[in-house]
């Protein structure tokens, strides 16, 4: 069963991710690429507990992202639910749960998330070509997300998992 402390930790983490998105993300933009703390956090939480993936967190944080930004309301929520479910299924079925595999799934999920979101924006009327959307936004943002994701993963693993979970087998790099 889901530990109440885990749930509390996830909520606290979500609040921190939201504050980072509002306070930090606009100020650390590099060439128009901004990290998506909310999406990165959702995927990390999914990978930290793939046995209990819930669509509620990605839906709420995705909706918050849409409401705080200027994009179609529901777009990021839709994309995040799909990506976290997908990441959960893939990671559950991967026999190897080393950090390397986890980060690979995280990076792939972030790329898929950015690409799906750009496709959805274009479907909603953003007047740009897919190539432009990919080169100028999806790719740089995904790379930035990956960088942020590595840092967030180790912090989240320490505070969400480290306190109460005993490793079943030692995790190795590679």
């Amino acid at each position: 069963m889901i530990d109440e402390r885990w749930r509390f930790g996830v909520v606290i983490g979500a609040v921190i991710a939201t504050l980072l998105q509002i306070l930090l993300a606009p100020n650390i933009a590099v060439l128009s690429a901004e990290p998506n703390f909310l999406a990165t956090y959702c995927i990390i939480v999914t990978l930290l507990m793939p046995q209990a993936v819930s669509p509620v967190l990605p839906f709420v944080l995705g909706l918050l992202f849409d409401l705080m930004g200027g994009g179609p309301v529901g777009a990021m929520a839709f994309v995040l639910i799909i990506v976290t479910q997908l990441a959960g299924v893939i990671y559950r079925n991967v026999a190897n749960d080393t950090v390397f595999v986890l980060l690979s799934v995280l990076f792939a999920s972030l790329f898929i998330m950015e690409v799906l979101y750009s496709i959805l924006l274009m479907a909603c009327g953003l007047n740009v070509s897919f190539i432009d959307a990919f080169i100028y936004r999806a790719l740089p943002c995904a790379l930035y997300d990956c960088f942020v994701g590595v840092i967030l993963y180790f912090i989240a693993a320490r505070f969400l998992v480290g306190r109460w979970s005993q490793p079943e087998r030692p995790r190795t790099l590679g």
Partner: protein, 296 residues
Amino acid sequence: MVPRMQNNRSPLTSRALVIVLLVLSLVSITFYSREDSEGFLHAIQNGVSGVVAPLKFVGTAAGSVGEGLATSISDATADESTLSGLRQQNSELRSLLAQAEEYRIKSQEYEKLLEIKDTFSVVGPAAHIIGRSTDAWNQTITIDVGSDEGVSAGLTVMGTSGVIGQVVAAEPASSTVRLLSDPSSGAAAMIQSSRVEGIVRGSLDGLLYLENVAADVAVNVGDVVLTSGLGGSYIRGLMIGTVARVEGNLGDVTRLIIVTPNQTVSAMEEVLVVVSAEAPSIASQTPSNDSGGESS
């Protein structure tokens, strides 16, 4: 070390929840795309934007303070072992100098805004930029004046050297401005020297493109581009920028004209919201248009 905990929901309930939330998201996207800017979801989005505006301001201010603090810390700890009264004094003086420089830059910016206000007889409040877009896909800024000061959606916003965008949502104490560089922005424009009209559009690469210009019209690098006021989306005769590059030849229908604004918005701190204005240079040649409107 993957935690082996199980969700307390049955697989069927979990799947049903996923489907319900996906459908809810899709319905929300559909409604948002179909409703106009006064619609229910847009209103909620604007409300949330108004609520987080003060937080954005804290973030922007913290960013500036952080830069200054980093410099001060770096200066103060450079020679920690040989700290002396003189060095402390020096540090204090540097801090004062930096403060004075900040006031000087702000004063220059205000002077430029006043010049613009005089030149175009601009009527409207000046505003501070208190926040920037929280996502990479929208080029917007948040300013600290709103409907309480007469700001409404559709009004033109100017920087120290020309148009930078248009108000898309106004809350009582803050407003959201969509920049010209946003791919969803579009301004009816004309080239000052030849009076040829076209549309300036933003793009994801951050450049402004002048489109719909007749193929047989000569466009040269350095030509000044102004708002034409057509369609009522922007006030007529305000400067947008200058032609930076022309790719393609005269007569070529696929000619690409790149316009560069005179100032980058990222460096701006103050802007003017234009409630009404008058452009003396072109007012006598074509009828004026003082109304606001929606971005295309």
